[in-house]
């Protein structure tokens, strides 16, 4: 074992892990605002990756336009989730279970919609974050350029979210609503608005994660189901489902553990280990590990 290997795995673990963190963030935003878990959370990642592929590779739009368009559509999709799924279910007296079943079906629906329109085979992701052969060499370590794009985008996004939640009145109202919806209303906070915002933020961050993961997983059905989605849940669970910062830290930790388990044990068990972490956290620390908030349910 050389330091070089350790450094290599650390950096790639942090890069991949931060995208798991974004997926976990999607879970946290929704849980905070409506106390529901969206089982189609990960679908937003697949949708934005395919949208980006369509706009950039098939239609030939520029990178920036394609990125903004795909993420924008996924944000609107969040509103759709609220008004076409959540509100009708709630109006008819449905609770958490109904929402889980509905979103689980939506997850399956999107996978099939993608198969119908794009086929089941993975599409190559355009080399917008550098080609697969582009490496940055540093102190004897070679790292794919895409990792640095991931760092960059995640850093910008986190700075934006931090600004939104901590410095703007809208963000403060959003946090107030998350902590006590009823009293937030007594303060005159428009909860319709904050709920919509939470849905949109939830799908948007996952959508951005989808575009970042596409160079690694390709534009494929893998982005819309199973293991990546569960890694996002693991990150969210480590944050007790309520701490946005905790979700990102949890995701990064998960990415690092995953990479080192590949290094020390075998890549065969990579996914198993993240599931084990999820189960272990749920059993031993069901209120989360990285939770800095005072309000716990």
């Amino acid at each position: 074992m050389e330091t070089k290997d350790i450094l290599q795995n650390l950096v790639s673990g942090i890069a991949i892990g931060s995208t798991y963190g974004l997926i976990g963030l999607g879970v946290v935003f929704l849980w905070q605002s409506i106390e529901r878990i969206n089982f189609a959370n990960i679908s937003s990642a697949m949708l934005s990756a395919y949208l980006f592929y369509t706009f950039y590779s098939e239609i030939g739009m520029g990178f920036f336009i394609s990125f903004v368009l795909s993420v924008g559509i996924v944000a609107l999709y969040g509103l759709g989730l609220r008004y076409l799924i959540h509100e009708p279910i709630t109006k008819r007296g449905g609770g958490r279970l109904e929402f889980v079943v509905a979103t689980l079906m939506i997850c399956v629906l999107w996978l099939n919609v993608i198969i119908v329109f794009y086929g089941g085979l993975p599409k190559p992701f355009p080399p917008v974050f550098g080609k697969a052969t582009d490496f940055v060499r540093f102190a004897g370590v070679s790292l794919p350029v895409v990792y640095f794009y991931i760092f960059l985008v995640v850093a910008i996004l986190m700075a934006f979210l931090h600004f939104l939640l901590r410095k703007t009145l809208v963000g403060k109202s959003l946090r107030a609503t998350a902590q006590n919806k009823e009293v937030a209303q007594l303060m005159g906070v428009n909860v319709n608005l904050t709920t919509s915002l939470a849905f949109m933020l939830s799908t948007t961050v996952v959508g951005i994660a989808g575009i970042l993961l596409a160079p690694i997983y390709f534009v494929s059905l893998e982005l819309g189901g199973g293991s990546i989605g569960i890694k996002g849940f693991s990150a969210a669970v480590m944050a007790g489902l309520i701490d946005p910062y905790g979700a990102v830290v949890g995701g990064i930790l998960l990415g690092i553990i995953e990479n080192f388990s590949t290094l020390f044990i075998s890549s065969t068990y990579r996914d198993v280990i993240s599931f084990l972490i999820l189960v272990a956290v749920l059993i031993f620390k069901p209120k989360g590990i990285f939770v800095w908030s005072l309000h716990r349910d």
């Binding site: 107030a176 006590n180 009823e182 007594l186 005072l294």
Partner: protein, 238 residues
């Protein structure tokens, strides 16, 4: 003209009535206390006015002449009714300053910081804990913050639900003193819900006594303070 006029207000939880055709009114600039034992419906009354619970069909709550029954809670708050909820309920993870900022959504932008500054002058303790999460404050400080939130909201009617609950006597008298000061200085209308008559009588212009969901006694403080009911309920055990 009455600021708030309530007619035939009825609320029930799963078919069990909590308020039975309650009618009363509050005039502008008045301090009105609603007294009553636990379970009399005092908190339900405030929650009904704020739109947090559903009222029965025939209920009417007129605020400045407009019926507000069925409006969403945040819209009622925006009309100028502030509600300091039972048990304080500050936002624990928001700092003291942020709690006040969220409550000042309705105040025009240029007056917000002035309003918040005024709360800090009224409650010095809060000033030194500005950036601390509200969840780390003591019970008394949380109550001050909860009242402070109502003050920055620019509301005309302030409803306070049992401000004495769970607090030490010295803090309670401090809070009531401040409430009196606020009412005198700032032309506000106060609806106070309280179990403790000794605290609320000196502050009030008029009293309503609520028992099992009905108003059983009403009048000015002078009229009711010698009544048997008030004596029995509040001073008998002295």
């Amino acid at each position: 003209m009455s600021l708030l006029k309530i007619r035939n207000l009825a609320v029930s939880y799963n078919g069990i009535p909590a308020l039975k055709k309650v009618s009363f009114e509050i005039n502008k600039g008045e301090v009105v206390s609603v007294l009553g034992p636990n379970g009399a419906g005092k908190t339900t009354l405030l929650r009904a006015i704020s739109g947090l619970v559903k009222c029965e069909k025939e209920s009417e709550i007129l605020y400045k002449g407009k019926n507000i029954v069925g409006l969403q809670a945040y819209k009622i708050a925006r009309m100028g009714i502030a509600h300091v909820p039972e048990g304080r309920q500050v936002f624990p993870d928001l700092s003291v300053q942020e709690n006040l900022e969220v409550a000042s959504v309705l105040t025009s932008l240029n007056r917000r910081s002035g309003k918040i500054q005024k709360v800090y002058e009224l409650f010095q303790e809060l000033n030194s804990r500005k950036n601390q999460p509200a969840g780390t404050l003591s019970g008394g400080e949380q109550q001050m913050l909860a009242i402070g939130r109502a003050l920055v909201s620019d509301s005309e009617l302030i409803m306070v639900d049992e401000p004495s609950m769970g607090l030490a006597p010295v803090i309670i008298s401090r809070i009531f003193k401040t409430l009196r000061q606020i009412v005198q200085e700032q032309n506000l209308t106060l609806l106070l819900v309280e179990q403790n008559a000794k605290l609320s009588l000196p502050l009030s212009d008029r009293i309503y006594v609520l028992s099992q969901g009905r108003i059983v006694l009403s009048g000015t403080v002078d009229e009711v303070k010698d009544s048997d009911l008030i004596r029995q309920m509040y001073f008998a055990r002295e």
